[in-house]
Amino acid sequence: MSTVIRGKAYVVGDNIDTDQIIPAQYLALVPTIEEEYRKLGTYALCGLPVEEYPTRLTENEKVPCPYNIIIAGRNFGCGSSREHAPIALGAAGVEIVIAESFARIFFRNCIATGELYPADCPERLCEVFKTGDALEIDLDALTVKRAADGASHALNPLGEVKTVVAAGGLFAYARETGLVPERSAAS
């Protein structure tokens, strides 16, 4: 993944839990089976209440969806440990979630899978941006800019999160650092 991410934002509020990210009835889909991985993407965020979110992340279960950036409020990803949640977002084409704060297991699962960057920010960006805004995120400069007005907002430092996600997740990182043997030696 490049460290500059450009694309359209999908904006949600506080406490978006894993049941809203991927409702429990879809958990029988096994993410390591390729066809089922793709299917998970088509359901990403389909648990959001329709009245509050009339614009859906994926319309007609079509992936990749038009949005590759999620902007959220507090406690994004709270609830269950299902890795299906970051995977559904990743499979839908989402590259990054920028939130005021994250629930711990979801945050960790984003990094372990390498599916998407979890980035937190000091500002309440879910009240600054609107769904459909074109954004440019620079993970080195730690900025997020709206194309329409060029206004720049800060991201908190990503630290090792960036290294691990950029490497492709926990296993890729663990191989680079010698925590697990190289693939050729493993099998």
Binding site: D19, A28, A174
Partner: protein, 468 residues
């Protein structure tokens, strides 16, 4: 250096003399637990990363408990139990609590036999967080990780227990280790004694309301104080179980004589004994938060839709009309939970649809053996109009496939002994879920709206425990 309970366990299992909050450590795992919803994905990552022929690091330390989507005709869900069975066979994993007895069979739920009668074999153990201690897999001082957020329940036994994702679990499967950041610890001192009508569920709903439902994010919640001693093992499990509902990495109680007696008895019964060493927190350890909870001042408490931190005492809930009541899950589906429920509904009739799902087959057996005035608790519940199923499992707590017992398939209001009330949690996205204790759920089922159960308590509990 003085350490909290969590710091001390992590230091020991990282082979260090001391760790402090914020330290990243590579920790040896004692037990890895997985189930039917996350197990197949974990196995998939394990094979992809370590190779098709790779072996798990220690077959005796991997515990596999199908429990989520079992009694459903959903074809993928049935298949997922078969994926677990095949892996267990290849790896020689001894602790697999299969739905069926035939190690080379296929699991298929038979809807024509109905949902109420047991369709499992002798090995099936039910909800993982209750089955783990029941079968003797929880021990003080250990590190337990599981692919389920409510793995924190096992903190009731004085161990570090936390939920992880498939990729982390696959890493543990291959290496026996996990990278953890040592969490800062929040301390909760429980003092005083709960008044009649108040239950462990009320303690944790009170605490989550106090700190907010992201109030413990990334942190350890350590429960201590003289109020802990009189609490039963079930009570401690209920409290630890919902630590994750405040965002906690783990919740933990110091082990005492009661813990050790429980752990040793279960291990002896099931032949799962492993030496363990209890750990105590040091005087002068660093806590980032300290709250004293006077148990005698607590009242029956409800978490209002749609998050577990929306606390309100039951007596102040006014006239919140209900369509349904539910008792079950790792939080509120234990024998003691059903007995409390039966105390309230014995000889009466529920006014709304009420579903009961015991967490484990062992609990089903206990409820059928326990007698009240000559009738089993099971029959007392049936007579009161509760729809009971013998098919123990997670069932409708998390919605599940559409044919799941008790699932909310319309936008109903439901009061429940379970743990989460987010939009869509029990099925329909328009469902409204209220979380409460078994007492409060039972009394509200009789009334048809949310009530304070203290007006419904029986005088004396006439329960003889038989064979429990």
């Amino acid at each position: 250096m003085s350490m909290t309970l969590t710091e001390k366990i992590l230091a020991r299992r990282a082979g260090k003399s001391a760790v402090t909050a914020g330290d990243s450590v590579l920790v040896d795992v004692d037990v890895l637990m997985t189930h039917d919803v996350c197990g197949p994905g974990t196995i998939g990552v394990f094979k992809r990363e370590f190779g098709e022929k790779a072996r798990v690091w220690d077959a005796k330390r991997v515990v596999i408990i199908p429990d989520h989507y079992i009694f459903t005709s959903d074809r993928r869900s049935n298949r997922n139990v078969d994926i677990l069975r095949e892996f267990v066979r290849d790896q020689g994993i001894p602790y697999f609590y299969d739905v069926i007895d035939d190690p080379s069979g296929k699991w298929e739920f038979d809807a024509s036999r109905g949902i109420e009668l047991a369709q499992y074999g002798a090995k099936y153990a039910g909800v993982c967080h209750i089955a783990l201690p029941e079968k003797g897999h929880t021990r003080p001082g250990e590190v337990l990780v599981g692919t389920d957020s409510h793995t924190c329940t096992a903190g009731a036994f004085g161990e570090f227990a936390t939920g992880i994702g498939n990729t982390d679990a696959a890493f543990v499967m291959g290496t026996g280790k996990i990278l953890l950041r040592t969490p800062p610890t929040m301390r909760f001192r429980l003092v005083g004694e709960m008044q009649p009508g108040v239950m462990a569920k009320d303690i944790i709903l009170h605490v989550i309301g106090e700190i907010g439902f992201d109030g413990a994010t990334y942190k350890a919640m350590e429960f201590g104080g003289e109020g802990v001693g009189p609490m039963s093992i079930d009570d401690r499990m209920t409290v630890a179980n919902m630590g994750v509902e405040a965002g906690a990495k783990n919740a933990i109680f110091e082990a005492d004589a009661k813990t050790i007696a429980f752990v040793k008895a279960r291990a002896a019964e099931h032949g799962t004994a492993v030496p363990f060493e209890t750990v105590t927190p040091d005087a002068g350890a660093n806590y980032v938060y300290d709250l004293t909870v006077d148990l005698s001042a607590l009242e029956p408490t409800v978490a209002l839709h749609p998050d577990p931190g929306r606390r309100k005492v039951a007596s102040a809930c006014g006239d919140i009309k209900l369509d349904r009541a539910y008792i079950g899950s790792c939080t509120g589906g234990k024998t003691s939970d059903f007995e409390a429920f039966a105390d309230i509904v014995d000889g009466k009739e529920v006014r709304i649809d009420t579903f009961g799902v015991p967490a484990t087959p062992q609990i089903v057996r206990e409820l059928k053996a326990n007698r009240r005035n000559g009738r089993s608790t099971w029959d007392v519940l049936l007579d009161a109009g509760v729809r009971m199923t013998e098919n123990a499992g997670c069932a409708a707590c998390l919605g599940g496939p559409s044919d799941t017992f008790g699932r909310i398939n319309e936008p109903l209001s439901c009061i429940s002994t379970t743990n989460r009330n987010f939009p869509g949690r029990m099925g329909d996205a328009g469902g409204r879920i209220y979380l409460a204790s078994p007492y409060t759920v039972a009394a509200s089922a009789l009334a048809g709206h949310i009530v304070d159960p203290r007006d419904y308590l029986p005088g004396v509990r006439e329960l003889e425990e038989v064979g429990a």
